[in-house]
Each structure stands twice: as structure tokens, then as C-alpha cells.
């Protein structure tokens, strides 16, 4: 069995959401919501040329959430599903993933739009979003098939 892995935040995500309650549950439910990513200065050199990308993938630590259940009733459904078939934040390894719009890079600060994370969230990684790598046409979406569009009206609470 593989051993533990230790990560260190490389920055912090700043958003208008002081707590998870009432927060949008996906970037597509947070269109227009502005925030910033503060990349710690040690890592600033790694941001070179990021400004050529309109969208970036943020990986971060769901730091407000502890414990988890392997079956959850997600925000967008009344039926319970396996945790890994949902995007619920309470997970064995609570790593969040959001693809946000990159508006401007100013030194070590990234100005972003469509932010669905809590203020002060520890940043783990930034990757450029590349549809040729990250988009698969006609993907089948199981229980979310007819429900994923409701993401615009659904906000989070502390349930998940």
C-alpha cells in the first residue's frame, strides 16, 4: 500500500465567499463572480506565459471540510450516489478542481472570474486549460445528465 503524500500550498484563493453557505457550487454557477489567486512570491516565475490562456485549472484544498461519507445525496439530486460519482467537497483526499476564467496577471496575482470557492482556500496547483487535452465530446453524464444545468440556481450549504 502506497504511503502518505505531503503537499504544501503554493498560494491562496481570494473570493467574495467568506464561508461555504450560499456559495455557487460550480464555476458554471458562478459566471461573473470575481476573485484573485495570490501565488506566493517564491513561485511567481512559474506564471510566465500563463496570460496567454483564457482559462486555467485550479487545484486546491477543500480546507473547510472534514470527514466524508462514501455515499452522499448531492445538491443536484434527491437520490444518494457514490461519492466518486459526485463533486461533493468532503472526500478522502479533499482536492477541489475548478476551471476558471483568467482575466489578468499582475505579478504574482491572478485576476479570475467564475469563482466557486471559499475565501482563503489554499492553492495546490495551476494548470493551463487546453480543450484538446481536457474536452471529450458527447460525454455521458449518468445521474447528472439532466441535472447539471441546474447548477446555476443551486447554492451550497455545509451538508456535503
Amino acid at each position: 500500500m502506497a504511503s502518505s503524500i505531503l503537499f504544501q500550498p503554493i498560494g491562496l484563493i481570494h473570493t467574495p465567499f467568506a464561508e461555504p453557505i450560499g456559495m455557487p457550487i460550480q464555476p458554471s454557477g458562478a459566471v461573473g463572480v470575481k476573485g484573485t489567486v495570490e501565488v506566493f512570491e517564491t513561485y511567481e516565475k512559474g506564471l510566465k506565459d500563463l496570460d496567454g490562456f483564457s482559462h486555467i485549472i485550479l487545484l486546491y484544498h477543500f480546507h473547510c471540510y472534514h470527514e466524508y461519507s462514501l455515499e452522499v445525496k448531492p445538491y443536484l439530486d434527491n437520490t444518494s450516489h457514490g461519492l466518486f460519482a459526485t463533486r461533493a467537497p468532503k472526500r478522502p483526499n479533499p482536492i477541489g478542481l475548478s476551471i476558471v476564467q483568467l482575466d489578468l496577471v499582475e505579478g504574482n496575482i491572478l485576476h479570475i472570474s467564475n469563482v466557486d470557492v471559499v475565501d482563503g482556500t489554499p492553492l495546490l496547483d495551476i494548470k493551463p486549460y487546453v480543450p484538446d487535452f481536457d474536452y471529450w465530446e458527447n460525454a455521458r453524464c449518468g445521474w447528472l445528465e439532466k441535472k447539471s444545468k441546474n447548477v446555476t440556481s443551486q447554492k451550497s450549504d455545509l451538508r456535503l
Copy 2:
């Protein structure tokens, strides 16, 4: 400054690639390559309903890679770029992200296609891939704009 975060693998990814040398560098460069995800039995219940999704997001530990540079010359270019503007595996927090095709779920084993990771890679998380959450049309791709399609002919070595 935020403190360290400890993660524990929830499974292992099995692939035909014993080492990074000669491996495809993205799922889109690995179309048809088969592998399996062994989710440790403790977590099997969390896989319920995952079989409704044709594609899944795997987050994993780039365990073959240590150290990193903040500027790298990626496989797909002859110019160096900021690390965070690339998908290079050597990163401050070496978390890999691949969106692969889910062919079949058998108990705690996921049969997958389009695999671009090394055999024995520790799995950190599985999320359902949902274009309504994860796809942004007309995304601008900076230095990768004309180069991302070359991913089908490019293989990895130990450089990055």
C-alpha cells in the same frame, strides 16, 4: 502561510507503461490505450453510479518525479515557459490530472481507456467528468494554440 496537507492514496492506476520514457503525454495522445484503476476496497462503496459516466477525472500523484524548475521547455515547444503554463509533471505539488474514458466498473476495478500515466501511479481522487462544469468554449490556449494537436505524436522522457 498555510500549513502542509497530507493525502493518502485511495488506489493505484495500472497501465502498460512501466516507466515514463516513451509514454503518451496526454489522454488525447493515448487514445485506445487500456488500463485499470484499482480503488482500494475500503473506498469501493464510493464508486456507486460512477458507471453512468463515460469519462472520469483522475487526480493522481506524479510519483516518479521529484524536484522541479519554475521555467521549463515543454515537450510540445522549443521555447521555455513558466511551469504553471505547462502540464509538466515536475511541479511543487506534483498532482496529475487526466480525463480518461470509463469502459466498465467491476467491483473496485475500473476499466479505462486513453491512459497516459505510469503503471503503479497512486490515485488521489476520482471525479465525474461533466462538460457543463468542465468545458469552456473558445478557450484561448497561449503557446499551445497551434501545438496541442501534436500531442498524438509526442512521447515523454524523463526531461520534465
